[in-house]
Each structure stands twice: as structure tokens, then as C-alpha cells.
Amino acid sequence: MIAGALVRLAKVISGARAVFTRPIEGDAQRIFFANHTSHLDFIVVWSALPRNLRVKTRPVAGRDYWVKGLVRRYLSAKVFKGILIERTPHSASSEVKREAARGAIERMAEEMGTDSSIIVFPEGTRGSGDEISPFKSGLYHLCRLKPNVQLVPVYLDNMNRILPKGEALPVPMLSRVVFGEPMEMRRDEPKEVFLERTRSALEKLKENHG
């Protein structure tokens, strides 16, 4: 019930319209990967999914944000069933960061199990919305651990204007959530090629539907 109310609220605030360029069918495990410009991004993608997919789809989120306060803890534990990832401080050495990232990827793969899908934002951080930044390598390593999952590109249009970086209050504009054609990691695909191929899938959605 709370999930349903949240879905409606997210749709009202973001005026989000889901566009499926290909139907998403079948029981495959999926990684939905989207461009990232606003705090609302995850909930908007999640809300745009049809119900049967939504119940199996979990966000990946920073632990520090989602364990603060009762409401957030309840939402992430019971409603979204978020996979909470420890964030390393900026000051940490690159050695520590790399180790933490590897741990996080392993956690994600483990938590996905044989059934769950996840939503990730491979740019790593929120951008201004003008351009899609190069992807961090996390998506690649995750796919190496879960080679059979479907990768679904999701382009979020206009979210950066609804709640830009640095703003606390949303302006209720209309937005679109464009789901692209599912793709898969190729056999022995080099990291750079894979990351550029997935990023350009988002670019293409932006060009054609942005």
C-alpha cells in the first residue's frame, strides 16, 4: 500500500510518463542502468516499471543516507528493499576506495541472487543533465559476476530540471522515462568497449527520445 502511494506521489511530482521502445517481457534478471541528475531518479525509474517487474527490482543506494531516521530506514528495508552500499569518504586512499568498490560490487551480485533485478546509475554521481558522463567500471565488474543478466538502458528526460543538483525543492515539470532495447555483455568484451557501448545506448535514447 505504501509502495502504491509512493509510486503515485513520484508520478505526480515528476509528471513522469513511461515510454517503452521495446516491450520488457519474460522473467530474466535485469540491470536497469540510467543517467543520473537528481535525487528523484531512482524512485522515478522504479515507479515507471510495471508492477510485476517493480516488486522484483531493488535500488542500489548509499547506506549513510538510507539508515538515517525511521522513515528512510523503513522505506529502504520494507518498501524498496534497497541494496545499501557503504560509501567511502573522499579523503580515503585510492587503495581503500578500490577495495571498497570491489566489496560493493560483490555485495550487489550476491544480493541480486537468482531473482532480483536492480537499478544502477553507472555515471557514479549526479551530473548537470547536459551530458552523460563516462561510466565508472562498476557496471562492467558487476556484469562479469552476473554474465547472464539483461541490461536495460533507461534514459531519464528532464529530471535535472525538476530537482537539479544542489536544490532541495522540486519544480513540478513533466518528465519521461524511456526504456531502451535490452542488451547483454558480449563474450570476452573488453571493459572500455563494454562501458562505451552501454553509455552510447543511453546517448541514442537521448537523441531519439530526448
Partner: protein, 326 residues
Amino acid sequence: MSVLSELSFDSSLVMLLGGVLAALVIGSLVGFILSLRVKGEAGRATVANLNARLRAWWVMVAVFGIAVATGGIGSLLLFGLISFLALREFVTLAPTRAADHQALFWSFFVLLPLQYYLIGLGWYGLFAILIPVYGFIFTAVRSVLAGDIDHFMARTSTVNWALMVCVYCVSHAPALLMLEIPGFQGQNANLLFFLVLVVQLSDVLQYVWGKLLGRHKVAPVVSPNKTWEGLIGGILSATAVGAAVWWATPFTPLQAAGMAFLICVMGFAGGLVMAAIKRDRGVKDFGTMIEGHGGILDRIDSLCFAAPIFFHVTRFFFDVSGQPIP
């Protein structure tokens, strides 16, 4: 005069509403018969669109009927909501930047509710200047404080024009309830009904006449579907309907015809300007909210310009609350 004190549901309003419902019943029957008889791809598409529009009309008439019947508060809430949804569609298409975020937030959540609140108070003096004086200055200052000068003039004008069209202009429809017309107390809802009836009927009849007889384009660049035949037929027939319901207004039959004609012409102008904005932004419709019609702004584009002009002409010639003209 406060618009909230009165419950405005008199017999002439019931008759107007009944007339509209009768027209909708006939329209829906025609649509149903056409859906059985028309063959061919293009014809079927037109009929399907016609029936989608008719279904949406049932909903819109029901919502408007309830709003008007519940007196001032219902109309204020309805038009406030329309302004909100229209502003949202407009701003979505408008080229603003992150630096305008705060100005837009104030537009949606402070200026818009305040504008309608002032109608509720019946405070004409501030209602008339809130947006073009305080709103325009405030939003420009708020944007400049954000420190982004790229396209500053275009962005500021865009925010101002969005407020003007979607909030200021639209709010003049329920503002008709503020007018004080001798011998017409408690019946102002009829004026609102008259405005909306004529402006929407003019749209529908221009569409119908255009489909039946349309040959010569009025504005081929801006709005290729508008024809001289549709325009003249639509305006004349909607003016005739406006004149025919003079008994529900404070006007004589001739005055009602004049007012209806003015509303139709302003409606056409509004539709044309909004069409140019859509073309400029490279879209066909402002949104997808109303099946067969597009967005809410596509449905009220003609109301935007008709409402303030009808309001002020009526106020100038019929209202007694203002200062005497020197």
C-alpha cells in the same frame, strides 16, 4: 465583493448546463453512428479521434459543472488547478536553466496560489497587478541572484510569459465572479459559463466547419489545420449561440452577440499564438493529459486570451464597483 459567500446555482445556470448536456448526448450519438458507418483508414482515424474528444468532453463538462455549481470555491480550485497543470506543461517546453529553479518554484507555489487567493478575497487592485508588477520583478531578481547570465533576457522573458499566459490570463475566468453588476447579483457564475461555453464551442465549431468545408488556409506556417471556412463558420455559429443565451447574462441579445464575437476572435488569436509557441519548440501538443485533445494547454489555449479581455470589457461597461470614469 467576496466570491466565496454565495452559492450560485440558479435556474438559468441549470438550463445552460442542460443545454450543453443535450448537445453532448447528440454529439455522442452522431459519433457512435459514424463509428459504425465510416469506412476507410483516414475516415476511421478521424472518427476515433472525434469520439476520444467527445469522451474527454463528458469528463470536462462534468468537472466544470461541479465546479460552477459549488460556487466560488469550486471554480477557484478548478481554475487554480488548470493554471498549475498548464504552467507545468509550458515550463517543461520552455528553455529555462538551473539558475531559474528558484524563480520557477516561487511561480508554482507562491505566485500562483496567491493570485487565486486574491480572487477569493475579492481584492481586485492587487489581483490586477500581482503578476505583471510584483511577479515579473521578483522572478527576474531571483534568477539574477543565481548568477547565470547565459541567455538571461530570453530566460526571464520565458518565465514571465509562462506566468502571464498560464496564471494571470487564466485566472481572469474565475475573476468574473468578482464583478458587481446591477441586477445580476448572485448570478456571476453564468458569466463564467458564458465565457467557457462560447470559447470552447468556437473551437469545436471551427473544427467541424473546417472538416466539412475547409479549403483555404488562414495561417499555413503557424497552424496548417486552420482554414478560413472553419474560422468564419465557427465564429459566426458560436456567436449565434452566444446571442441565443443572452437571457442567462446581463447583456441584451445584441450585446451578448458582440461579447461572444469578441470572445471567439480572442480565442482564435490565443490558439494561434500558442500554436506558434509549440512550433517554435518543435512539438505538436503541449502534453498528453486529455485523450484526443493533447495537453491541458492545448484545450485552454483559446481561453487564455479570451478570459482577460472578456473580463475587462465586461468590467468596463457593466461593473459598478470601480471608480467612476472621469
